[in-house]
């Protein structure tokens, strides 16, 4: 589904990703772990198409398409969803209005008729249960005055509605207490499907107790230096990142 080959990315002239390779198949859950500043968020942002990230070498193929050639909104319509580390507030724009615009933009992109208000509300009702969204949050301005947990929950709720093919969760666990973490993880788990891939970018293995990954990758200094199964995550928790770095340096 997603194939990243020798990806080099610079931000303001500084190289952050230095030859990253990654293969993600449909139905798989991959965890990307790594210390601060290793390039985890850069990877998430590049995949979603954020401005200011310059790809200097390498490429990304997504569902047989050259992903990097697509505008951010086209990537979204093609099924890529980024759950933001810091979801922004948009004053005056109703949360549910944004969602309706999003889902209909996607349907339009695929030549499908727009959802009418009734169909949309039915969908919303169904998905609110999934992440136990409080209904009053739906009619508030996007993320305005939401607590940290509510913002993250809102991201997963949007993900549930938009049903992406490839979901990238960028440090979704940061700033969540254990209860919120469980709710978010439950939501993500319920969205695991044979035709859907999920990339979980995280700092701590804690989240991986709840969202059990098929593969774990260690990203340090702009490259994936070690990959393994979920045991690798446990090892990392025990021993930190330094030994992986040293191992990589030795090799």
């Amino acid at each position: 589904m997603l194939s990243i080959k020798d990806l080099h990315v610079a931000v303001e002239g500084k190289e952050i990703l230095k030859g990253l390779d990654l293969e993600v198949g449909a139905g798989e859950v991959h965890a990307i772990m790594g210390p601060n500043g290793s390039g985890k968020s850069t990877l998430a942002n590049v995949l979603a198409g954020r401005d200011g990230y310059e790809v200097t070498a390498g490429g990304v193929t997504y569902q047989d398409k050259d992903l990097l050639a697509l505008a951010p909104e086209a990537r979204a319509c093609e099924g890529i969803f980024l759950a933001f580390q810091y979801p922004v507030e948009i004053p005056g724009v109703n949360n549910i209005y944004l969602l309706k615009a999003a889902i209909n933009a996607k349907r339009k992109y695929h030549g499908e008729p727009e959802l009418d208000a009734m169909e949309f509300l039915k969908l919303v009702k169904e998905k609110t249960k999934l992440v136990s969204m409080k209904e009053d949050l739906l009619n508030r301005s996007v993320n305005e005055g939401f607590s940290g947990g509510e913002k993250k929950r809102n991201e997963i709720f949007q993900m549930a509605i938009l049903e992406p093919k490839l979901a990238i969760l960028d440090e979704t666990d940061s700033g969540l207490d254990i209860d919120a973490l469980k709710v978010v993880a439950d939501g993500v788990n319920s969205l695991r499907a044979a035709d859907r891939a999920i990339i979980v970018v995280t700092h701590y293995q804690r989240l991986l107790n709840y969202i059990v990954p098929d593969r774990v990758h260690v990203l340090t200094d702009g490259r994936i230096v070690k990959s393994g199964d979920r045991d690798l995550a446990l090892q990392l928790e025990e021993r930190g990142y330094d030994w992986v770095r040293k191992e990589a340096a030795a090799a």
């Binding site: 909104e73 979204a76 005056g92 724009v93 969602l99 992109y109």
Partner: protein, 482 residues
């Protein structure tokens, strides 16, 4: 012989200069402004002597005044002697004969705004045969208004049919010498709207200039006078949401509102005059004086304006809160793009006890535009328990535009409670990216964010107006980002 010839020439020239004895052009005066011109305007309109004198008084005041230079705007000097001060409402023969003759860019905009065809014709100034629906609609409306006792007509008609009302109220809110442009308007105004809501009457419909098609061609010096008697209510809509075809460079209008005891006037404006092109060439200079007088107890005047047009906007719809418990409100969205400049805001003059005012101003700048909010809250000595809440928000798009806020407060009563909040934000790359990541195109995302920003003001507009205002904003800001 030679001198004789010169004398003859002089004489001929003189006649030509004054132009009104011989009918060179029955509808347009040659450029220039003097007392003769003003008398002539008055004569052509068949006005009573008092009004002619009133105009002349204004003119004499104007002569001693200087064009204000305190606003945060820059424009080429205006040559007041180069303007023709009387041009009868444009007749069919002046306008384009059909839509084919109209600038396609203008039509494209109409299309985007979803304006029906016959309305497009009206806006573009195409000669319209009097067979389309709105004529019969207009007639029905007139009947309905007459039944309720509401007077709604052109200013000229009012001068003829209701001279006592005009004489009583004209200039009672904005006196002739109020400011440079108001003085000019008072001297040379050609037409405008007049509206009178009798005691205890709730005007049965929203009044709009649309139903008085003639009035939309009244040229650059309109005069509007609205009087709401005790306990009455009226909602008045001014302007139209498509750019009006208009060659006049200078607009100096005056609007006066009078609310007596328990009366409520709601005045909504959508101003979309020609803003000039992308390079800042052309466009209207819009210098408008709008003021409402809450003369009676418990009266209320509410201004809502959406300003998207004009090269230069200079406009401060204000409320004089004279009556006890009276309420003034000002809701404004001012959008400037390319090289447009706006210096706009309001004045809330608290004179009576327990008077309250609210100011919500939203300024949006894009391109190279400059957008300033200028507001005054004044509380007089006797205005016990006056309250004001002011909120000014500015939104910047791109990094070459400017937003400025000039709030003034003059408080002479210690019991007043005044609040002021102001924010300036840039349309966030983060917000845009967030929307785009959800599949929404950049253009739609901008619209969504801008509309969210303006929501508080749009909520004050009558329903259909709000929808059109949203569309208008998106057309105005098209291509402003990216």
């Amino acid at each position: 012989m030679a001198t004789q010839e010169q004398d003859v020439e002089k004489l001929v020239k003189k006649e030509y200069e004054h132009g009104f004895i011989t009918e060179i052009d029955a509808e347009t005066l040659p450029p220039g402004l003097n007392e003769e011109v003003i008398r002539h305007i008055s004569v052509m309109k068949g006005e009573p002597e008092w009004l002619t004198e009133w105009r002349l008084e204004a003119y004499r005041l104007w002569l001693d005044m200087a064009e204000p230079d305190w606003a945060h705007i820059h424009h080429d000097p205006i040559d007041y002697q180069a303007i023709s001060y009387y041009s009868a409402p444009r007749s069919k023969k002046d306008g384009p004969k059909s839509l084919d003759e109209v600038d396609p860019k203008l039509l494209e905009t109409y299309e985007k705004l979803g304006i029906p065809l016959h309305e497009q014709k009206m806006l573009a100034g195409v000669a319209v045969d009097a067979v389309f629906d709105s004529v019969s609609v207009a007639t029905t409306f007139k009947e309905k208004l007459a039944e309720a006792g509401v007077i709604f007509c052109s200013f000229s008609e009012a001068v003829h049919n209701h001279p006592e009302l005009v004489r009583k109220y004209l200039g009672s809110v904005v006196p002739q010498g109020d400011n440079y442009f108001a003085a000019l308007n008072s001297a040379v105004f050609t037409d405008g709207s007049f509206c009178f809501i009798p005691k205890g009457t709730r005007c049965p419909m929203e009044l709009s200039t649309y139903f008085r098609i003639n009035a939309s061609n009244t040229g650059q010096f309109e005069r509007t006078l609205i009087i709401a008697e005790e306990g009455s209510y009226v909602s008045y809509l001014e302007g139209c949401t498509a750019p009006q075809r208009d060659e006049n460079q200078l607009h100096a209008a005056v609007v006066e509102l009078i609310a007596l005891d328990d009366a409520h006037i709601k005045y909504s404006t959508v101003q979309n005059w020609y803003p000039g092109d992308e390079e800042g060439r052309g466009g209207i200079y819009n210098f408008v004086t709008k003021r409402g007088d809450c003369r009676g107890r418990n009266s209320k005047i509410c201004w809502t304006q959406i300003e998207t047009g004009s090269a230069v906007t200079w406009k401060y719809p204000s409320c004089v809160l004279r009556g006890e418990n009276s309420v003034g409100e000002f809701y404004s969205v001012a959008v400037t793009n390319n090289y447009q400049q706006a210096d706009t805001g309001t004045k809330m003059i608290h004179l009576g006890k327990n008077t309250r005012s609210t100011i919500i101003s939203k300024g949006i700048s894009a391109g190279y535009a400059q957008n300033a909010y200028r507001g005054l809250v004044r509380v007089g000595r006797k205005a016990y328990n006056a309250r004001n809440y002011t909120q000014c928000d500015s939104l910047l798009m791109g990094d070459r535009c400017g937003a400025h806020t000039f709030p003034y407060v003059e408080n002479r009563n210690a019991s007043a409670v005044l609040e002021h909040e102001a924010t300036t934000s840039r349309i966030g790359e983060d917000q845009l990216f967030y929307c785009r990541q959800r599949g929404i195109s950049e253009e739609d995302a901008v619209n969504m964010i801008v509309n969210g920003f303006c929501k508080q003001v749009f909520n004050e507009l009558p329903m259909e107006f709000a929808v059109e205002a949203q569309k208008l904003l998106s057309v105005t800001l098209e291509g402003a980002v990216g």
